[in-house]
Amino acid sequence: MTLAYPPQPDRDSAPWWARAGRREFAVQECDSCGTLRFPPRAFCAACRREAWHWRRIAPEGTVESWIVNHQPFVPGRRDPYLVVMARLTAVPGCLVHGNWRAARPPKHLEPVVAVFTEVEAEVTLVDWTPADV
């Protein structure tokens, strides 16, 4: 599978994608106030300081919403596909997106866990699957 829109890491996010490629789910933790944040960026919005370190977290969340895409938004992709919006358990107020890896539709607020999918060489995406599977 070749992605029509592969990730385009920038100078803030490249280390995050590298860790995802090693099947590690990491977010930034502020050295000063300990606030966790995602996606990667230089400053802590809580204390406005720069110093931080990676913190490996449990890749767990809950289902906040999802869509089933029918319009051909992606060139060459005709089948309906489901994208889920999950709330990270470890990072307050943080919503992330991903493919849904289950045969059944999601349920509101159900626990989910990340699965790492190497979709092509050097490209690993974080998808989501029900915690009870």
């Binding site: 829109y5 919005a45 919403s65 938004f73 107020g93 919503l95 997106h97 991903g98």
Partner: protein, 389 residues
């Protein structure tokens, strides 16, 4: 930090919208956005009873899809001493008018024409299909999943609202049906065939929970409004419509947000109302940014017309239709009139306050709210409260 700086309160009703202008709305204009912009600017000046020689300011917003003021000014031979070329989509649409009002109130320009000109169907489709993904850091965490178009993001927010508050497809459908009925009475509207709730429910899926009739049109067209001082507008030929409040800014969220069912409008509304010295109960007609049905539902809540979570039932109650307590999107909105990214909402509000909206006129409308994209995807929005003098 005070809610509204004193200086902003002093600007209440100091500026006015003295003219509005449109090109026809079509699916293929056959002309450049520069041509569309020039036509709308001249139409707005004609409406105001002004000439191009009266113009000393031009303002627009765009996302790399339209002609800049620095192109429009020489194309029309305008001697412009102040201009604004704002990067941004629907969320900044009303900030453009607000910035023009600030320039006029500060005395650095006397007459500013704000315009938006797009070939959003024939050249640069906002719907995302078949075009590249905009460059934004957050896109890298979305596009690989095939999450590339505004309809998909708003559908995610809409389902979150449905799951949390019990909002139903029929609530969205009622809104689409009501706005289409308004468009039937609007000669400018692209979609003038009435629809029923069954038509809505039978329309094809775009991104569940959104159907085709949840989504706005993609339109070629332009719209312009003339901003000048309230004093100067008094001498012009059209009924005066005063800018009672203009606010922009909004929330603080990034890709992450605490609550996907609350928009930047919830943070903006208290400032906006304070600037005008008014509240939701004073609004006679509301032109609410309707890129999708859901964006209207959430704004009914975030601008304080009903409690959080009750936007769907409120919309379906008849309150937003003709004769209701808050007629909404009287022109048919982006869903049925046409999509000019925000400025056609401002122009419709002006028509209503002048009492010139024809068959769709809200009787006795004195105060109008007009709003921008409420602050999803990026956490900023903008809005105006306009008042008949």
């Amino acid at each position: 930090m005070t809610l509204v700086p004193k200086r902003l309160l002093e600007l209440r009703d100091r500026t006015a919208i003295a003219g509005i202008g449109y090109t026809p709305f079509t699916k293929d204009s056959g002309v450049s956005t520069l041509t569309l912009a020039c036509r709308a600017v001249l139409a707005a000046l004609e409406d105001a009873g002004l000439t191009p020689d009266d113009v000393d300011g031009l303002a627009t917003h765009r996302v790399g899809d339209s002609a800049a003021p620095s192109l429009v000014a020489p194309a029309l031979g305008l001697d412009v001493t102040w201009h604004l070329d704002q990067f941004g989509g629907g969320s900044v649409s009303h900030a453009v008018v607000g910035q023009a009002a600030l320039a006029v109130a500060a005395g650095v320009a006397d007459t500013v024409v704000c315009y938006r000109a797009i070939n959003a169907r024939s050249e640069f489709r906002m719907g995302g299909t078949g075009r590249g993904v905009p460059v934004s850091p957050e896109v890298q965490y979305q596009a690989p999943y095939g999450l590339v178009a505004p309809a998909q993001h708003f559908a995610l927010y809409a389902r979150a609202h449905m799951l949390r508050y019990g909002t139903r497809p029929e609530h969205f459908g009622h809104l689409a049906v009501t706005q289409r009925a308004n468009a039937v009475k609007n000669p400018r509207a692209l979609m003038r065939t009435p629809i029923t709730l069954d038509d809505y429910l039978a329309s094809r899926w775009i991104a569940e929970p959104f159907r085709l009739l949840d989504c706005c049109l993609e339109t070629d067209g332009a719209c312009a409004v003339v901003v000048t001082t309230a004093e100067r507008a008094r001498a012009l030929r059209r009924p005066r419509v005063l800018i009672s409040a203009a606010a922009w800014g909004g929330g603080t969220s990034h890709l992450s947000c605490d609550d996907p069912t609350v928009t930047g409008a919830a943070a903006l509304a208290p400032r906006l109302y304070a600037q005008a010295g008014l509240g939701p109960g004073d609004i006679d007609v509301a032109e609410l940014y309707d890129c999708f049905t859901y964006s209207v539902i959430v704004q009914l809540e975030d601008y304080g017309f009903c409690p959080k979570g009750e936007g769907g039932p409120y919309a379906a109650s008849g309150a937003i239709g003709p004769g209701g307590e808050l007629p909404v999107n009287t022109h048919g909105g982006f869903l049925s009139e046409g999509y000019v990214h925000g400025l056609n909402h401002v122009a419709e509000a002006v028509s209503q306050l002048r009492g010139e909206a024809g068959d769709r006129q809200v009787p006795g409308a004195e105060v109008a709210l007009s709003t921008a994209q409420p602050g999803y995807i990026l956490p900023a929005t903008s809005a105006l409260i306009l008042r008949r003098a």
